[in-house]
Symmetry: C2
Subunit: 428 residues, 2 copies
């Protein structure tokens, strides 16, 4: 019989529990695929006495992470704690003691992944993080392997299930943000403090990871412009629908050749776009490669079992490499250091919704100001409101964001303008 | 400098041309990913003098496949001819002479893939065939790697671009099959003899490959029940739409535990199903795994560059294995030999559209016959037609196909029934 491959796990929360369950329930099938049994040797937890959903032999548990990191029999260490520290320090020491790493930690990978990957590569070790983006959706492996022949010019991802759930509900049920957020919290789809999701920080980490891999150039999350969900009003969703669009929060990356544009914000997507029908807690990542064309990956972006699927998929691949003496097969692929353009230099289409006094020539004078800033208009819809104002909704042609912002600045200060209600980028 | 890895190619048609273009244009990026240059050493073509879209050094071309197969410097052989023979004989000899194989040949893989994979595995060689299903969409690698921790119970794939294009056009434009087929032929989306696509044989091969991998059990394409597109009338598409469904041709596989059910035929899909919005020549494969849940892969299912993307992705992976002395890492995964159930034993929902004389109690007497065969009805819509007949559309609850067929047999012989216009399986 072949020697078992020992696994150590840090963290037995939602994802850790999912990974342990998948490893345990599919032990026989996994052994067949790897050619050796995988054995969970130790699991570090914060509180040994905490009641758990998952049945784990108490002898495996320790409350000292160092016991796992220092165990020379452990070949694969799974870091499933989350956050940068202490996770990063644990992982670094595990690499230095010769362990292959699996993690689902998006924040650590976005902020400090590059150095960790280099450390692992120098020692010929595997370092895998499929679960850090898109939960169980295979995306990192496909980008590094099956799609490796492509030059990607665009990525567009719905990578946060909480905000996608809220937006889907607001759209389908004509509901208010606050009501849907409370419902999402009751279902466990949103956390008690939902800031990380709602303000787009979670999507920022994931987009940094995706863009780094797709464009083979390191993207620092701090360079990613972010707007959250709170900017979106129910009225914007209604108007977008009338115009043939759906509002989604996406992480967007473009490789412009010499520079990258990477950003997270709400967009109007045409209803026929493959991402437009991705609803509820589902995630999807859409990419354009020069050879493959448009390609999309869809699935559950969070949860113990889906993310456990990604974690154990990584473990299986590493175990196969261990069996063949081939760990370190796939190293870091951030070969380039392309600059990230500031948001002002973005060129795209825009949706602008504003209220103005319903007087003759209002439309003409506003259009003229847009024109002064080189912002040309694709379509405009004006509606009289009962209070004597008019709601005017503009879709612009492609223009420079700096120009759009300047035009809106001037427009907002006009006496005839009651207020700019919102402006949102449009992805055609 | 690291020694180059030599590649031989059999066939320089649409896919061969795409693969050569991707390898050539991305040579520098691929070298960075592999750690060694990839060099096309020889390409076997049928006709040396044929004019080609792609510029290839004439010194690389030969009209003798044996020159490629016998060349001891070639480490990776790409078979891009198609069909079972002579491709299969060439590939077998290439394996026996120690070459790693890449192929995009669905018919060969479906009919004879098992033996070829075993031959390669015994010699510790790689054998990859990502391009044989779904063109450029990564699906075989993700199933064997990132998703390897799952037990899959369902696959559902739109795997034929030609029929999906025709059905999408018939649906969007209320057009007739014949007209759309001629348009598809003019666009190059359908062949002059479209039998292979229209009758579902192409989908049959691809579904056999997908089911074999997803269920880790060999599926012989001859055991797959197939119905083609010609069964679908414009009226069925209209009625389906009114009922909230879209008609698609899909390859379906289910793992029932002791047996598999694998089939290719039109289905009614609910409009909210992720596959329902996959239109035109796009393909998508939807799967349900016990850990990952629902997951879907979407992209271009055919064409030189998309399939070239898959072929070169395979080449890159093999080259990485060659560099690490780790070829044969991933062998055949058909561990089981589960039987395929005959279509009569299928249990699903059905759509039945028939014409009957518009007389009192017709509905009741037909419903009673369905009841006699244990077919219970979920919904029924009756419409009076100008000619004195009524069109009656039934959606059944889940029932045994043998029972549904028996009921329809009795119903079709009733004097009050003008004719059963169509019946189609429904995927809920």
């Amino acid at each position: 019989m072949t020697n078992p491959i020992n696994i150590g796990i840090l963290g037995l929360g939602v994802v850790g529990g999912g990974a342990v369950r998948v490893l345990t329930e599919h032990a026989a099938a996994i052994e067949r695929k790897v050619g050796a049994p995988l054995v969970i040797k130790k699991i570090a937890v914060r509180d040994l006495n905490k009641p758990r959903d998952i049945a784990v032999d108490p002898a495996l548990l320790t409350d000292d992470p160092n016991e796992v990191i220092a165990d020379p029999d452990i070949r694969i260490l799974c870091e499933l704690i989350g956050g940068v520290e202490p996770a990063h320090g644990y992982v670094l020491r595990a690499i230095q003691s010769g362990k292959n790493i699996v993690t689902a930690n998006k924040e650590m990978m976005a902020k400090a992944g590059n150095d960790l990957l280099q450390e692992a590569e120098e020692r010929g070790l595997d370092f895998s993080f499929e679960g850090s983006v898109g939960g169980g959706i295979p995306i990192i492996q496909p980008l590094k392997q099956a799609l490796a022949a492509n030059k990607f010019t665009q990525i567009l991802g719905i990578v946060n299930g909480t905000t996608n759930y809220i937006l889907s509900k607001m759209t389908a049920e004509d509901a208010d943000f606050g009501d849907v957020l409370r419902e999402a919290q009751a279902h466990g789809y949103a956390e008690a403090d939902p800031t990380n999701d709602i303000e787009g920080y979670d999507a920022q980490y994931k987009t940094a990871i995706l863009a780094s891999i797709a464009f083979t150039s390191r993207v620092d999350p701090a360079d990613i412009y972010v707007e959250g969900l709170t900017r979106i009003a129910k009225r914007d969703i209604e108007v977008a629908k009338e115009l043939g669009y759906v509002i989604k929060i996406v992480g967007i990356g473009q490789d412009l050749g010499d520079a990258l544009q990477v950003r997270v914000h709400p967009v109007l997507l045409p209803q026929a776009h493959p991402l437009a029908s991705v609803n509820d807690v589902y995630n999807a990542i859409f990419l354009h490669g020069d050879a493959v064309g448009d390609v999309m990956f869809y699935g559950r972006g969070a949860g113990g079992l889906p993310t456990g699927s990604a974690v154990v998929g990584d473990i299986i691949e590493i175990a196969r490499n261990i069996r063949r003496g081939a760990t370190g097969r796939l190293g870091c692929t951030c070969y380039d250091q392309k600059p990230i353009l500031p948001i002002d230099q973005l060129e795209t289409n825009y949706y602008v919704r504003l209220l103005a006094h319903d007087r003759p020539k209002v439309l003409a004078s506003l259009a003229s100001i847009f024109g002064d800033f080189d912002v040309s208009i694709e379509s405009v819809v004006q509606r009289a409101l009962p209070d004597g104002d008019a709601e005017i909704v503009w879709i612009t042609h492609r223009c420079l964001e700096a120009n759009l912002r300047s035009a809106l600045d001037v427009i907002s200060r006009l006496e005839i303008v009651t207020g700019i209600q919102n402006w949102i980028r449009v992805e055609e």
